[in-house]
């Protein structure tokens, strides 16, 4: 690939670093990636980071301290395009599964034995998606993201084309793989409402979808909910399962269910 003058920064907020690690795991493309654009800042991979005006800022993780709110806004102010990678950045991730249900301060107390307080001049808060604080141009869903999906979107971006946002459920990929339907067999599979891109990784291994890419745009939560009720699952366990990875998006969609 031809070298460009584009400046890129990759930043990690609260999460497991699995999305940035997926980029590092792209062994065949990694050295190309690091040389075809100017990677100004990538704390996980290098020391000589420069915080400057960026063409593309890639953001992983949810926002869960006041310092991170300041930092994400500071990055956005000097970046032309913002790409959110992973369900934590997109919807808050697992640490955002109880969004809207309250009780965060009590849970904090259980863990630390004291109410939330500043650490390193930074006040903790319940995890939120980056889009709650800055304008996000593109979302690459996943937990973690898929390497090929990321590289496709990234390649389009650096060539001045708009990335396409796929909007299909895992079921489509599951059918492409010729798998037997786990939902039909009675499992609480969330493939019907979950964004595709993983290649139906789990159902292909006989493991029902946990919904880890979050709900896709046209997810019919209501139909999935009633289907699982019919199969004998309890209302609470269905909602919990949808919330595990769906964060703010699941909380919004679940409002349809009284």
């Amino acid at each position: 690939m031809k070298k460009t003058n584009l400046k890129v920064g990759i930043y990690e907020f609260t999460g497991c670093a699995g999305d940035a690690l997926t980029v590092i795991h792209a062994e065949d493309e990694l050295l190309d990636f690091l040389t075809v654009v100017n990677v100004s800042s990538f704390l996980m991979a290098k020391s000589d980071n420069v915080e400057e005006k960026l063409d593309v800022a890639v953001l992983e993780g949810s926002i869960s301290t006041e310092e991170q709110v300041r930092h994400v806004k500071e990055i956005a102010a000097r970046s032309k395009t913002i790409v959110a990678i992973g369900v934590c950045a997109a919807f808050g991730g697992i640490q955002g599964m109880k969004t809207g249900q309250g009780g965060w301060e009590e849970r904090f107390k259980k863990v630390y034995g004291k109410p939330p307080a500043e650490v390193g001049n930074s006040m903790p808060m319940e995890a939120r998606p980056v889009g709650d604080f800055v304008k996000v141009d593109y979302v690459v869903p996943g937990c973690p993201i898929d390497k090929d999906q990321f590289l496709k979107i990234f390649t389009r971006l650096i060539n001045g084309a708009s990335p396409e946002q796929l909007s299909m459920p895992v079921c489509v990929e599951c059918k492409w793989n010729g798998n037997e339907c786990l939902l039909v067999k009675g499992a609480a599979c969330l493939g019907t409402i979950t964004a595709c891109g993983c290649g139906a990784a789990c159902p292909t291994y006989n493991v029902p979808c946990f919904g880890c890419w979050g709900p896709y745009n046209e997810a019919n939560i209501l139909a999935q909910y009633h289907l699982l009720l019919e199969k004998g699952y309890k209302s609470d366990e269905i909602k919990t399962r949808i919330r595990n990875y769906g964060g703010t998006k699941a909380a919004e969609l679940l409002k349809q269910i009284a």
């Binding site: 990690e12 907020f13 609260t14 999460g15 497991c16 670093a17 699995g18 999305d19 690690l21 997926t22 590092i24 795991h25 062994e27 065949d28 990694l30 050295l31 690091l34 040389t35 704390l43 996980m44 991979a45 290098k46 020391s47 000589d48 926002i63 869960s64 301290t65 310092e67 991170q68 991730g93 697992i94 640490q95 599964m97 109880k98 965060w104 849970r107 904090f108 259980k110 863990v111 630390y112 034995g113 004291k114 650490v119 390193g120 930074s122 903790p124 995890a127 973690p144 993983c198 990784a201 789990c202 292909t204 291994y205 006989n206 493991v207 946990f210 880890c212 366990e237 919990t240 595990n244």
Partner: protein, 427 residues
């Protein structure tokens, strides 16, 4: 004269951490290794969940140690619910664990730590001098990823290994492909040890410490057991893990710290090799005898040497494991015999001993406690910061910041792990 050594964001580690060391003359007044990753309160999220949901959630604590978290959770839940898995399941789990060691160690040695030894900002900056080695390291890392993705269904957070077995076992063709690639990379495992042993490591902060690791019941070198061994000669059941880890909350970090009998201790590759290295056989055993020295007990920078020995050990384990797995028939999935129980599971993550503890009621998680290796190492890392600051040679030419970073990075810290945070109090 007052001096401040500060690293706001430590690069080339997993997660967000900072270092602060303050001196007044030769006297160290402040030492802090700060976990600045935002809190996630993960254990509070698993309460009320099914074991399968718990396993899916807790592996998300960390992308690098994902399979170790999964494995520790599975072991704890299976002990709690009375599940015993057959040999093929056990061996396939060992295989995935070896894959994680190969992946994590090759990443840490070549991409995170080696640039320190050569005073370079990143592995890309090593390409001119060590192009062939970096390429081979990428291939080795890719093999680790291949093993993990083959067994677990994808590279990170694969859901295939679960309580009671696997959704699907890897095929013979997949396993043979792993074996072939491994056999081709074993010589690079040896070369890595030779390359690393050519570097001179600084010694001015050397000091004995206490090491802890799991102690495999078969008397061999390994990464999984239900008992612990400490370098003071003590042995403990993993059910007594709290008597070793003693977590405490500190003001400067979102990660808790651990002390054993009031003293810092270390876990990880160097702990394991110091404690169990004599048990190594094959090429790993031969190289261990060749390069091991008493300095390994005093200096955390030898951790990457220990990782190189373990990387070779893990590579050598893979071909015979593949042969044994292929010879066995796929077993049935094992279901729980009860829906209540309480137990601990421990495995060695690449960066040290990882404990998961659960109490279950009505088939749901009622209580969870997870102790990560980096949380156990924090205090010892700070102790070495202090030693390095106090004993900084007069007229030291290097950057004092760089030596602190090098010490922290040598531990291969995982700050997301350490900041998963913790503890549902017992009533």
């Amino acid at each position: 004269m007052k001096m401040k050594i500060e690293v706001e964001s430590l690069p080339r580690v997993e997660g967000h951490g900072g270092i602060l060391v303050e001196l007044d003359g030769k006297k160290v007044t402040t030492v802090q290794f700060k976990g600045l990753e935002g809190p996630r309160l993960i254990e509070t999220l698993t309460v009320g969940k099914t074991p399968q949901e718990d396993i899916s959630i807790v592996c998300r604590i960390c992308a690098i140690c994902t399979l170790s978290h999964r494995y520790a959770a599975i072991r704890a839940l299976e002990r709690a619910l009375g599940i015993q898995v057959p040999e093929k399941t056990q061996l396939t789990r060992t295989l995935m664990h070896m894959g994680e060691m190969v992946e994590s160690h090759s990443l840490h040695i070549f991409f995170l730590s080696l640039p320190d030894l050569l005073n370079k900002p990143s592995a890309v900056a090593l390409l001119d001098q060590f192009g062939a080695e970096v390429a081979a390291a990428l291939r080795t890392k890719k093999l680790g990823n291949l093993v993990m993705s083959t067994v677990s269904d994808r590279m990170i957070h694969g859901e295939n290994p679960t309580m009671g077995g696997f959704g699907r076992f890897p095929t013979k063709e997949q396993l043979l492909a792993i074996k072939k690639e491994t056999e081709e990379l074993i010589p690079f495992g040896m070369k890595t040890i030779e390359l690393l042993s050519t570097f001179t490591l600084p010694s001015f902060f050397e000091s004995d410490t206490l090491y802890s690791a799991v102690d495999p019941e078969d008397g061999k070198f390994g990464f999984v057991a239900d008992r612990l061994i400490l370098s003071n000669g003590e042995k403990k059941s993993i059910e007594d893990y709290k008597s070793v880890t003693n977590e405490k909350v500190v003001k400067h970090s979102f990660a808790k710290h651990s002390l054993y009998n009031g003293k810092p201790f270390s876990v990880g590759s160097l702990a394991r090799v110091n404690l169990l290295g004599e048990r190594l056989d094959g090429e790993a055993g031969r190289y261990f005898k060749k390069v091991y020295s008493p300095r390994w007990r005093k200096n955390p920078l030898f951790n990457i040497m220990a990782q190189a020995v373990e990387m070779l050990f893990a590579l050598e384990q893979i071909p015979p494991l593949v042969d044994k797995i292929i010879a066995l028939k796929d077993p049935e999935f094992i279901r729980p015999t009860r829906d209540e129980g309480e137990a601990t599971g421990a495995v060695e993550a690449p960066r040290g001993t990882l404990f998961h503890h659960y109490r279950l009621k009505d088939g749901r998680i009622a209580e969870a406690d997870i102790i990560t290796p980096t949380a156990q190492n924090f205090d010892d890392i700070e102790r070495y910061f202090r030693l390095a600051a106090e004993n900084l040679p007069d007229g030291y030419e290097g950057d004092p910041k760089a030596i602190m970073e090098t010490i922290a990075r040598a531990y291969d810290p995982c700050i997301s792990c350490a900041t998963h945070l913790v503890e549902i109090r017992r009533k």
